[in-house]
Structures are given as structure tokens and as C-alpha cells.
Amino acid sequence: MPCAETESRLHAYFDGELDALAAAAFEGHLESCAECRAALEALEAMRSALRAELPYERAPAALAARITAALDREASATAPRQQSAEDELAGDPLAALATLAARGRAARHGRRPAGGRSTPSFGRGLLTGAGGGLLAAALAFFLISPHVISPRGALLDDLVNAHVRSLLPAHLVDVESTDRHTVKPWFAGHVDVSPAVYDFTAQGYRLLGGRADYFEHQRAAALVYQHGPHVINVFSWAGEGALPADTTRNGYHLAFWEEGNLRYCAVSDTGWPELLKLVSLIRAAEGQESHG
């Protein structure tokens, strides 16, 4: 049994939470410690089983329609509306929980809660401020959002939008794949680039197929992978200039790389380590092909 300190580093390493230096140090330790290697393998086995076995469903179409209708009603209500305390707390879930916990305690013990501890928050308490400040802040956010005007931001928006659009029913793939040999020829007739096509089912990334998308003034290629419940789009197009840095937008990670004259971007709501693993698998396969 590894000591607690080592065990905590083992999990952090397994979850991709160590920085490069600490990860390298831990890999050094792994080489000399059979116990930690075995523990790591056991963690990997359980993770693979969870990702392969656990059932998951997409949100029912009826639910999506219900929510859209409810939002329509909400958005069309232009009359003055007094925000309830609980609505305000929606912007600040940590404070909400503190309040909730305090209320729960108060309810159970029949007395007033003590002051909650202070916690960091997403909302920075904006909503608890005056309504006027709220409006001004949101308006400022809307107006000065930098990506609205910068071309780099436009590319990021295009990529995220293309990814989100692909998740709509019946938009995911134009050509289905059981192996890469059906996808590659399809691209030849439908997009302007000829990206590398690989399947990594054995590693947990199943190639679902390919799709044509239009951005950067060209017909770009999209390869679609399934990873657990997540869809990963790998876009490729011909580009020049500085390669955008890896970033996260609207909850989706974007990882960029180039190979020859092609730009690639993998987009998904997987974790970073999981997305970068697919990137490294693709790059290693490309490397083998170009040198083999």
C-alpha cells in the first residue's frame, strides 16, 4: 500500500493534474516502484470499464423543447420582475449552498444559522448587487467581448459553433465509418484538404465518421470521435500565420497543432488530459506514417 503522500500524487498523475515537472518526477518514481505501477494499472482498468460500461442517454427531445419553451416565456416576460433570493443565488452557487446548508441546519435544529464561511464564487456576487449594476455589467460584457471583433476569436467561434452544430440530431457525420478506409476517400471528393484518418477504438476513441464543414473560406474536414459520452471533432484546414494557442471556450476545450501544411483543432467537452491524449495518438500515428 503506497503512503498517503504517494497515493495522492498517483491520483493527481493519473488525472493529469500534475505540472510537467512533477509529472516527470513521478514517472521517475514509477520506474522504480512496481507497487505504484500496479496501482496505476488498476486505476486505468476501472476507468476504462466505467467509460465503456456505464449507460448514458442524450437529453430527450421533448425535454429540450420544454426547456426552450420555458426560456421563451422567461425571455418574453418584459414586465418588471422582482428577483427572488433563490434566483439571485443561481449566479452564485457557492453562496447558495452555504445559505442552503445554513437553512437546512436551522430547519433541523430549529434555530438561526451562524454566519456562513466565505467561499470563492463563479458569480463574484454580481447578482447580489443592485439591478442597475447587473444590467450595466452584463451589457459591458456583451459589448466588449473581445472575440466579437478579433479574427482569431472568429476562428475559435467558428470551431466551437461547428462542434456544437455537429451535436444536433443528424448533423454529426456525413460519412459513417467502421474503419478509416471508408472515410479517407470520402474526404477527397467533399473537402479541400486530405487529413490523416485513424481509428483509436482500442484506446477509447472510436472513429464515428467524417463530415464537411465550411470555415476559413474553405471546405474543412471534420473527423468525429466518440469517447465515453463525449463527442470529439477533429477539424483540419489549410492555414497560415501563428497557430492559435490551446484554449477553452464556452466549456469546450480546443487543442491546436499542425502537420505539414494542415492545421488541426480537436474540440470537445472532454477533460484536457483526455483530449490531449487523442491529439498525441493522432500525431504519433501521423509521425509513423510519414517516417515509415
Binding site: S76, E86, A96, G132, L135
Partner: protein, 187 residues
């Protein structure tokens, strides 16, 4: 205070672009939080409306973790309200406390199927304490990082790490018991 229609419409456009795409992820998480599919529907809808009302409070933050945190709060609020009212929900047909995601198949052949189901990882997860189940789902399935999990579950990073380690250990024990049973059954 009067909300300008054009302003609300602009917020709706941003909400549709930034939050609604995470509906499927929210629903997956809701299925692990709620007792039934119908409860999950209600939970997701409530969370989406709360998120919309509180959307202006989100400033370039992590949309998915933010939405999950709101939904989890809605869930806990619901539990707290039921507790306060002394409300005990009747068990629903085909939807007992266990196996919220697995519908038991009716019929004579269901005995062996139920044995499989009882050994399924979903069932093993269902048997874990909620905070263990939740941290495993958020990390292994939804693939949130430690910081995001801390934000959703509203505990410090260190607690996320120790909870995750304990949850993995607990699931591993149950899982290896299943593997042993399977080996015994093969003999």
C-alpha cells in the same frame, strides 16, 4: 426595474450559444442525481431556468461546471424541502432507489438479467455514498478537472482529491468482489 426586451433577447441569444449546448451533459449528470427520469427532466429544466436568470452573473467562467453546480443546488434544495415537509416519496414502479439508469426488464428471463444488472458497474456505483458516486461521475465520465469538481461540489480542492481516492478505493473493492464472483461462476 424594467428589463429591456432587446436586452433580454440578447441574453437569450448568448444563453442559447453558451449554455444550452451543455444540455446533454446536464441531463447525464441529472440522471445520477435524481431518482427517476421524470425527476431528472424537472431538475434539468429548473436548473436551466435558474441558470438563465443568473446568467449575467457568469463572467467568462466555466459554463459547464457552473451549470452543474446550479443543478446540484436545485437537487439539494429539493431534498431539503422534502425533508422539511417530512415528505416521503412513494417508490416508483420500475424505478427503485437503486439502478436509476437501468430499467429492470420484466418477464421470466429477468432473473439472470437482474443478476447481471446487480453486478453492473452502474449498480455498484448506485450503492456508493452520494458524494463518492458524484465525484466519480464528474471525473471519470464527465471528465471535469479537480478545480471544476471543487466548484461543482463546493468543497476545497484537497477534499476533492481525498474524496476521489476514497471513492475509487470503495468502488474497486466492490468491483473486485464482482470479478471474483464471476470467476467462481465460471468454475
Amino acid at each position: 426595474m424594467t428589463v429591456e426586451p432587446s436586452f433580454t433577447a440578447a441574453r437569450r441569444v448568448r444563453f442559447d450559444a453558451q449554455v444550452l449546448p451543455h444540455l446533454d451533459a446536464a441531463y447525464r449528470f441529472a440522471r445520477w442525481l435524481a431518482r427517476s427520469a421524470a425527476d431528472a427532466d424537472d431538475l434539468v429544466q429548473e436548473a436551466m431556468l435558474r441558470a438563465f436568470r443568473g446568467f449575467d452573473g457568469l463572467r467568462g467562467g466555466d459554463v459547464k461546471a457552473w451549470l452543474f453546480a446550479i443543478m446540484r443546488n436545485c437537487h439539494l434544495t429539493g431534498i431539503a424541502q422534502r425533508d422539511r415537509r417530512g415528505f416521503v416519496p412513494l417508490p416508483e414502479e420500475g424505478d427503485p432507489q437503486h439502478g436509476a439508469l437501468v430499467c429492470p426488464a420484466p418477464g421470466p428471463e429477468s432473473a439472470s438479467m437482474r443478476r447481471d444488472e446487480e453486478r453492473s458497474l452502474a449498480r455498484l456505483l448506485e450503492d456508493l455514498p452520494p458524494e463518492h458516486r458524484e465525484v466519480l461521475i464528474l471525473r471519470e465520465i464527465e471528465e471535469l478537472d479537480y478545480r471544476e469538481i471543487a466548484a461543482v461540489t463546493q468543497v476545497p480542492l484537497g477534499t476533492v482529491m481525498s474524496r476521489l481516492a476514497r471513492a475509487r478505493a470503495a468502488l474497486k473493492v466492490r468491483w473486485s468482489m464482482r470479478s471474483e464472483e464471476e470467476r467462481d461462476a465460471m468454475r
